[in-house]
């Protein structure tokens, strides 16, 4: 039994198709992140799961129950919002107990749950304050608490950290991870921040245009992106793309006048292809003064950006810009001629027409 199961879900606003025949199964206790650029439908999907949007077709199952047409409060979910969405006129305690009172829970049960949430989230001293008197981090904690007291199996997070500054964001990120470990609930988490996705998720669903492009664990998403979009969306700086063709029965890649040996490629059968794209992440390229053994390309240094821990080297390669992550070893002046060593085993090869990984 899946914890959350989306079956052939689609959503149209008039003639516009927002979510297209979508399928998604989330396991019990799993942390799934919906990741994508704005307008990709990730928040929309989450709102559908919560029952805040009526879907056009398909089914939604939560904990073995078809909840497609159930009210949000009857679905066994708790939700945390980007803007916290705390009721400003109620105290923190009021915010936590509002839903429980509506549900008609007995007083001592409500007390017990509030006490537990307050302990887990360390918001005990704030219980009698109004949201206006809290800091951003505290507010988000209360918002999580409101989901927590509902005592549900599935937590839905809608970009919960994007209103916080960078420092608080990383703190709360760790805290959410800890919470997940401690509670073991199923969590579906929407974000556009790939760092959040990569650090929090058991599995990431990368979305674009109302379609899940790839659903996999962070390692696979990062190292074996299924198509050009996922490859380009994940990773910063983005993956370098070399446009060329696969030749010699797929054993080599022709880039301009250069021939790159593909024998070490970790993927499917390549074959000859008229148009292909070779994707290499900045850290999978090395810089050498002379041509190294194995596949390599000559290039010219343009800019050397020192980031502290390492450097980003921007090079010119047959008129194309390429970025390489290198250890900091003194600056390479602009115009220096170098050779790039390519780690083909970690590269991704795409068909240029279908944009799919080979």
């Amino acid at each position: 039994m899946h914890s959350v199961s989306v079956k052939n879900l689609s959503l149209n606003f008039g003639a516009v198709s927002v979510l297209k025949t979508m399928n998604l199964d989330v396991e019990e206790g799993e942390f799934v992140v919906l990741l994508g650029p704005s307008g990709c439908g990730k928040s929309t999907l989450l709102n559908c799961l919560a029952g805040l949007l009526d879907i056009s077709a398909g089914e939604i199952w939560i904990k073995g129950k078809n909840v497609t047409w159930a009210e949000p409060s009857e679905r066994g979910i708790g939700m945390v919002f980007q803007s916290y969405a705390l009721y400003p006129q109620m105290t923190v305690r009021g915010n936590l107990t509002f839903g429980l009172t509506i549900a008609g829970l007995p007083k001592d049960e409500i007390e017990k749950r509030v006490a537990r949430a307050a302990e887990i989230l360390q918001i005990g001293p704030l219980l009698d304050r109004k949201p206006g008197a809290l800091s951003g981090g505290q507010r988000q904690r209360v918002a999580i608490g409101r989901a927590l007291v509902r005592d549900v199996d599935v937590f839905l997070f809608d970009e919960p950290l994007s209103n916080l500054d960078a420092k608080l964001r990383s703190e709360l990120r760790v805290e959410i991870k800890r919470l997940h470990n401690q509670l073991g609930n199923t969590m579906v988490y929407v974000t556009h921040d790939q760092i959040e996705a990569l650090t929090l998720a058991d599995r990431i669903a990368v979305m674009k245009g109302g379609v899940i492009q790839q659903l996999a664990d962070p390692h696979t998403i990062y190292n074996k992106p299924t198509n050009l979009f996922v490859a380009g969306f994940i990773g910063s700086p983005t993956m370098n793309f070399l446009h060329g063709k696969a030749i010699d029965g797929g054993t080599a890649f022709q880039f301009g006048d250069h021939r790159i040996d593909l024998s070490g490629y970790d993927g499917g059968a390549v074959g000859n292809r008229e148009a292909a794209v070779l994707g290499l992440r900045p850290e999978h390229i090395t810089v050498h003064a002379t041509a190294p053994a194995g596949p390599s390309l000559p290039a010219e240094v343009e800019i050397d950006e020192n980031l502290g821990a390492d450097s980003l080297l921007w090079l010119k390669l047959d008129g194309q810009s390429v970025c390489v992550r290198v250890p900091v070893e003194g600056r390479l002046p602009s115009g220096t001629k170098v050779h790039l060593g390519l780690d083909i085993a970690k590269a991704s090869l795409f068909d240029a027409a279908s944009e799919q990984r080979i």
Binding site: D54, E59, G64, N66, T68, W69
Partner: protein, 303 residues
């Protein structure tokens, strides 16, 4: 596993639909139903008893007769001419006065709140009160005329209130006093909504202030201005109680307005004549609304 059927969308969020039903009732019955009934009945000969069924309408149908009679009635011609005079002068002057006051108010002046309170307070008063006050001020025997004469200008004459040719202009004066503050407040809100950057840019470019207003700010405010114009102009079509309190439509019939004509016909046994006159006003309003609808429609199609 249980099969869950899609609920009938008609009953989804039923409470919301029930709660909106008063609004829907009012729109359907009052706004749509009444308009249709008024226009349709203007093509009949009904006098006191309203009719509803198609058969009744068919039996009483007289075509354009009511309109022919309407435009052959001198009193209606006077009324509609007065409305045109009032509408054009009131809307025009309210617009100019309102804009100039708003520009003055926009000069980072001290005590802005005091001035705004003064300009706008007449708008809080009813037309009846406005009419009574101005009737008193313009009273030739005791008001302005007498005051100026007492000061020594014995031949001074300001008898508009009792002058057949001028009485409608007293309505304009009183109307402007009552309503121009509203235009000022709306214009000021429009001016304030313009980005300060525009002013900075104009100053950097060395454009004089008056040119910035005329050539940059006014064009930018065009949608706001059209909205204000529609509000002011469509409001002026309704003028009734102001005339009633100020001149009672007199002297004679000289300051009659269509609303008075309609009111009388509706309630003294010439129902269809009244609804025909109402339909003319409806048409006039529709013409005023056209620019607004174009703006609103243009806004939607652009975005």
């Amino acid at each position: 596993m249980s099969e869950v059927k899609r609920p009938n969308p008609l009953f989804r969020n039923l409470t919301a639909k029930l709660a909106a039903s008063p609004m829907i009732f009012i729109v359907l019955v009052v706004f749509i139903g009444s308009t249709i009934w008024t226009v349709a009945s203007s093509f009949t000969g009904i006098k006191t008893l309203p009719i509803f069924t198609p058969q009744e309408f068919y039996d009483n149908w007289v075509g354009w007769d009511q309109y022919v009679r309407l435009w052959n009635t001198p009193r209606w011609i006077t009324s509609i001419t007065n409305l045109a005079i009032y509408g054009v002068l009131y809307s025009g002057f309210a617009f100019i006065i309102g804009f100039l006051l708003a520009v003055l108010m926009d000069q980072k002046i001290r005590a802005e709140g005091v001035f705004r309170t003064i300009y706008l307070y007449p708008f809080a008063l009813s037309f009846i009160v406005t009419g009574k006050v101005w009737a008193w001020i313009l009273n030739p025997a005791f008001g302005l005329e007498k005051t100026v004469r007492d000061l020594g200008w014995a031949s001074f004459s300001f008898d508009w209130l009792t002058n057949r040719d001028m009485s409608i202009y007293t309505v304009v004066i009183a109307g402007l006093w009552q309503g121009s503050g509203l235009v000022m407040a709306l214009m000021l809100a429009g001016l304030r909504s313009i980005d300060d950057e525009i002013w900075h840019a104009a100053r950097v470019d060395g454009i004089p202030k008056w040119r910035t207003y005329l050539q940059i700010v006014v064009p930018m405010m065009r949608p706001v201005m059209i909205t204000i114009f529609v509000i002011v102009a469509s409001g002026s079509v309704r003028v009734y109680d102001l005339v009633l309190a100020l001149t009672q439509g007199g002297p004679g019939n000289s300051s009659q307005v269509p609303s008075m004509y309609i009111y009388e016909k509706l309630f003294v046994g010439a129902l269809a004549q009244g609804t025909a006159a109402s339909s003319v006003l409806l048409l006039a309003t529709a013409i005023i609304l056209v620019p607004w609808i174009i703006v609103e429609f243009g806004k939607k199609s652009r975005s």
